[in-house]
Symmetry: C2
Subunit: 402 residues, 2 copies
Amino acid sequence: MLIVKKFGGSSVANKERIFNVASRCVEDYKAGHDVVVVLSAMGDTTDELIALAQDINPNPKKRELDMLMATGEQVSVSLMAMAMHSMDVPAVSLNAFQVQMHSTSRYGNARFKRIDKDRIMHELDSRKIVIVTGFQGINKYDDVTTLGRGGSDTTAVALAAALHADKCEIYTDVDGVYTADPRVVKNAMKLNEVTYDEMLELASLGAKVLHNRSVEMAKKYGVELVVRSSLNRSEGTVIKEKAKMEKMLITGVAADVNTARISVIGVEDKPGTAFRIFNTLAKNNINVDIILQSVGRDGTKDISFTVSQDDLKDAMNVLEEHKEALTIQQITNNPNVAKISVIGAGMMSNPGVAARMFESLYNSRININMISTSEIRITVLVDEKDVDKAMNAVHDGFIMTE
Amino acid sequence: MLIVKKFGGSSVANKERIFNVASRCVEDYKAGHDVVVVLSAMGDTTDELIALAQDINPNPKKRELDMLMATGEQVSVSLMAMAMHSMDVPAVSLNAFQVQMHSTSRYGNARFKRIDKDRIMHELDSRKIVIVTGFQGINKYDDVTTLGRGGSDTTAVALAAALHADKCEIYTDVDGVYTADPRVVKNAMKLNEVTYDEMLELASLGAKVLHNRSVEMAKKYGVELVVRSSLNRSEGTVIKEKAKMEKMLITGVAADVNTARISVIGVEDKPGTAFRIFNTLAKNNINVDIILQSVGRDGTKDISFTVSQDDLKDAMNVLEEHKEALTIQQITNNPNVAKISVIGAGMMSNPGVAARMFESLYNSRININMISTSEIRITVLVDEKDVDKAMNAVHDGFIMTE
């Protein structure tokens, strides 16, 4: 079996943890498997390198920042190889140049285009554990790129896809994927299996277990993912195309508090008005999420939508600037709202899910601002102060009553 | 003019020094020159990385150690590029992969085979300062190699040769090459020019201004070297094929205290005996320097020679082991000796140099153990305790009486 194993920065933060990771990899190796290990930079190295750069130049060019940051993973992989050697296990470290991990040119946020597998296969064939730098690639200019935060997950999945790995294990400091954030919802349960689509919805709603792009890539190439803890032997959560049907309507409940609501009031009720508003926002790189449109009076209408809190100020500025052209009479906003979502492939064939969700919220006296649905997700907007209560109410309404 | 400028680790040890180096490079750039900068790792980075490795594995494989150490220079070059950018000067950092600095395969002590100039020329043509990682190469396996201590000097010279640079400036923390170590000999004087051969003799005798291999390469490719200080504007010392004839018989006086003497006593006085002794030592990687052979009694002879103090123990073990086969009756050693050398192309045509050297030593009551000469060098072996006195005596005997 060919196994790709990815460990984050906290898993290799010191000597003891490096040897812990080495042991887990060597176990699989000694069981006869081919093992490819993907590592992030040790502990806070990446943040320290960024601080070092900003001390020299508060606004460093991304090309040079990537050149600098890529050293972090190179330190991790060479030390890991040394740890394995001290356990008398053959191992070799490789960086993005050596593997030839081709990416797009965009510094700081590159995407993989093509990964050569020759070098890795050659090393695996000579029965070495192969340790690869996560988070980085090389572009068509032969320059170093990085993939953005969480990029090492993507490296692991991309390698698993290129090598046709049998398994891609993502090690974190949690046991797996839960039905809700265990720090908020005390009855949260670990899931044994989820589908790619469910995981994508969970991830995009703030369940920070996996980087979204890595799940998308795993889905595209059919790479079976396992999320598990580097600290214990728990089985973790398997993410794949079709998860085993468990007796739950829903897979999980997620909250996203990084949400703000904007309402534009009294715009002309003519075809194209909404398009022009959202097009103006899009041109300014502002992502709009849930949209609610209501008929107003006198041939006008009101449109409400959510943006991330980070984008609120920009969005307000853009709208004020184009207020007249967009026929807006008034703009209001609420920076303190949160999205609560239930996710689950089971809800497609069950029309009662929405009703049960609203009932749970009503029973807890939580006011619903807006509603949005997809095939496997129902999202409601609540006040930020209600978010923990709402999470527990919705979670217990589904998971505990099964 | 195309200028290659090399700065060592202490010259880029902190923000202030990085900007100092950046300024000196930008000055040349703004004067219209093409500038290539070679950097070592910041301050003590290399030693810190070695300590990090040895904490994981006391005996790390050199391949992985090179992979680890190469990150040090990559940090320096990217930070330097950021510093230049903050001064609004176009600059780009390149590592050994990006330049394609091909080396032999030997990890920890590689030598350059071929350096591609396309990428650097392309960047220079678009009027950028090019900042290259010193000390490292890539071998035929596409693996990272390092050149051994002082390797960044060699990188600078190799680049200057490949690019047909007009000048190769090596910046250090001293003003240039002196007639003797200024910390020992108070009358030491800075030289304006020396020949490659003189510099090689000086360097091999412990004048640690330049790495020997870099001088050899400069001689081979006719690269004109300048050794100067990164801390002031002093002109420095030019090293080239033919130095201007100064009115001095000798160029400098150097001492090497890392020397031990071994004597093998009562070996058979037959052809091949000496050869077999030195061949046995060579096979065990022990370098022998000055050799003195004297006729003994009863068809035997005594042979004395020097080795570096680091090799003394190994040399004694090897000789003891082969004592019988080598027909040695007795082995003695003195670990505390030092070599004092006078160097200078001028002495070839002047038979009085040796006499004057011995006279100076005699006047200072310093005992001479052994003598060795080359065309441009006379070396004597003295007791280690006499070395500073001997240096001053010999130096003043030549330099001050001109």
